[in-house]
Symmetry: D2
Subunit: 280 residues, 4 copies
């Protein structure tokens, strides 16, 4: 259960009393309050309740009273209802490989439904996983048409999460509007440094001593969406641009895998242009 | 407020309802449940309540009913009632220096009351801080007498926390019994590797590629108490034992400063031989 | 070119003069001198020389005079002559997967010739790579016979490097004698902590705040061989043993991949029970 | 000895032969060659030679022949001739404190000659070290006059290195011209992210998950000079701007201390807008 509302006295008491009354056992409960300016309260509660699937409609109905009193935005996600994920990829396959591998060993609690690519290169890697691989070429001129074709597949499988696993094309507004804060991109720099193209080459030129990667939700502003996770790795004057690409690819796949895991577990809340990442 | 009790349905609801009823505003609330074996529940709640100092006795009295129902161990600490700390040191001064500096800039929310040392070496460093410096020599033969003298000073100032900031003497049982889980030691290795004497020399001999430091509560078993915090730093074949000592001293002071901060903020709960460290 | 010899004045001058005289261009040159006790000098020189393959015998012959003067142990490896590697694995496949993937993208400059396993589990993962997968069951009773069968395959392909990518069997002396400092193991703890079985379970019991992995050369003493690389990852009281296994597997594969890369690039020299790892 | 020159065959041989001929014992020797574009070769040699102080003029004279042959820029620094350092500081004292402490324990092999500040705040901290503290107020209007006064003190003590230990004033061109690549600044962000003022506030607004610090040489372009060292620390949504300042101050002092150490040990070479940092 994820909740956000104006911060007031009594929210935790009201929610935990409600859950207790309906027989739920709270396993984790994490809160975060932003004191600055507006005073917003965020809460994530993991609870266990027998026959939740049957009771869900009734429970939500009842909770509406509590929610209205505190002007809450809220949702209940069942751990049995997994997120439906599409992976977008171009030619680099390290992020795709990492996500598929973690999914296979049970670390990503989601249903990966398809891989969409503007190239055929990654098809052999995907094949053993038995996933459909949709090859939809994209150029600047046919971006909108390509998005329509992508959307057709996405809707058919009721996809709710898109992972850009080094997908080297700009996502059109049309697509972002359908998936607000549901598209995760991996940018191969420590944002906000090196926004845009060729970050490793530019990191080399600037002579930085650490290179990084950033997983963020996609918004209309390129590389400006809410950051979910970042990490860095040490480099030195001995490393050439091709070394930065190699070392960076290791950071990219770890950072993206963490962000995707948190997202599919409903651990991430977006507020303005920032994320609150609750512990798992 | 810190609580630990057997894990049952309804604890969070009961506690938050109680606090709400008495007009408290919950700022943070963190829980941790151990599912294995016994099923223990741990909780740390930070709340704000006007005139808490006056109401404390009444509130504790009332809470006793809730506590009994769930068989809780619990305590309420006021942020205005700071921990009273004694620093023990021998000759190395880097940990002492770090703690005093952080205390001066307001980062350690505690009252440092005294420095106790078996040497005079650190006295000049302490002097500008206006703290009493008690020089109490210790040898194996007079360990018990020394402890009695130390205890005299500690009791006089109602000390509740002892920090061994590289104090190179064994703490006798007599002292540990008075301060259970209230004495923090910094060991200059990544425990449980290199328990005991000369860890850097032994790390050098073994050819490890990372050296570390461990802050832990002192128990009767040398270097076996509950670990509060650990960290490491990379080393290479180029580093000689004296380099390990130098690099390690940086890790030691950071690790100890973190552990002391968490302890004086009541963020640490001990269960068996492990710690639960709640976020601040 | 790798050299080790007693430390004396003039070694670098003699070697670089020799190479210069024969038309070689030194690309990198790294030295390390151990001052303690014996005074040993280590050197790794990367040089470029046209037609080196043809000239190799002549060059080595000529260098013998320099080598004798300084009592050197030395060898010249051609970057065109890649190490021949066998991967040993049991049931866990994360390290195997990581190595195969890095090999495929060209990051491991070696010839992986075969996978040997005491189980069939990893066979499907290996198949797409077109490598032979030898299934040789091992129990304590038939360890020596199994080693003989393994050695048969290893000799046939002139293997010079064995990687134990989570191979859960003890390597018999017979095998170690054939491959001195040529067998790399990944141990799932930060050695020398948690030598032996079940390190994650024991790390959980001890309540450590960081878990680690160690890549080392295999010697007759279990988990006591020269350490090549180590790393750690932060954990907390929220993590159960199964989380430690999952988090640790990430550290294991990164640490092993680094160690293997350095080994196949001839960046590692062993001295006593320690390694000198030259930068790449 | 630091050397940079166009990359050609035979440099290492020529230099090491020269040193050997004059009786020097090479302790360390590190090279770095930039292959791209111009092909530049960099070298740092640490050697031991009896009576070097007396022989220095003769040796340099002789070496000039070697240097001319390869068009070298070069210099020989004696470890007995320490760099003369001035520390510039404003109100924040954590970097100053760190440097003074490391200097006192012998970790900074330099002569700190004075502290210059535009405020009186840090005077008490400096006093126990017995260093002169020059209070020179600066405003935008009197920046040039202030620089002239600073230069007077700097010249008097033959200062060759200026450390801006959180000195919150822009350094005028007049000063930079006198100390090219000899002024080290600590910027409280992971450059090139958050160039300019208030980086922590801007890091908070952007919602980054790591904050950093960067030590760099000062050039006329604000925060654009050659980077010597960088590091980062993890933060989360729980941290407010004041927490970022506190956590960041820890990174700042470690990063600056490393950079200063490398600089005073002559481990840093500047090429264009980048640094080559040789291992110590």
């Amino acid at each position: 259960m994820l909740i956000s509302c104006p911060d007031r006295v009594g929210i935790i008491a009201a929610v935990s009393e409600f859950l207790h009354k309906h027989g739920a056992n709270i396993i984790h409960s994490d809160q975060h309050a932003i004191e600055r300016e507006d005073g917003i309260f965020f809460m994530r509660i993991t609870f266990q309740l027998d026959d939740l699937e049957e009771k869900q409609v009734f429970l939500c109905d009842q909770f509406q009273q509590v929610a209205e009193k505190f002007a809450m935005e809220w949702k209940i996600s069942l751990s049995s209802q997994k997120k439906k994920v599409a992976l977008f990829v171009s030619k680099y396959d390290h992020c795709l490989q990492e996500l598929l591998w973690r999914w296979r060993i049970g670390e990503l609690d989601a249903e990966i439904k398809m891989v969409i690519s503007n190239h055929m290169d990654c098809q052999p890697l995907v094949e053993p996983y038995g996933l459909p691989y949709y090859h939809i070429p994209v150029t600047k001129e046919i971006r909108e048409e390509a998005a329509l074709e992508q959307l057709k597949y996405l809707k058919k499988e009721e996809i709710d999460t898109i992972i850009l696993a080094r997908y080297m094309q700009i996502i059109p507004k049309r697509m972002i509007d359908v998936f607000p804060n549901q598209i995760i991109n991996i940018h191969h720099s420590f944002l906000p440094a090196f926004v845009g193209a060729n970050p490793y080459e530019r990191a080399f030129e600037r002579g930085v001593k650490l290179i990084g990667a950033t997983a963020h939700y996609v918004t209309e502003e390129l590389d400006e969406g809410p950051i979910i996770e970042q990490d860095v790795h040490r480099v030195s004057h001995r490393h050439r641009p091709e070394d930065l690409i190699r070392i960076g690819s290791e950071v990219e796949r770890i950072v993206l895998a963490r962000a995707v895991k948190w997202h599919v577990n409903d651990q991430v809340l977006v507020h303005g242009n920032k994320t609150i990442v609750f512990p798992g």
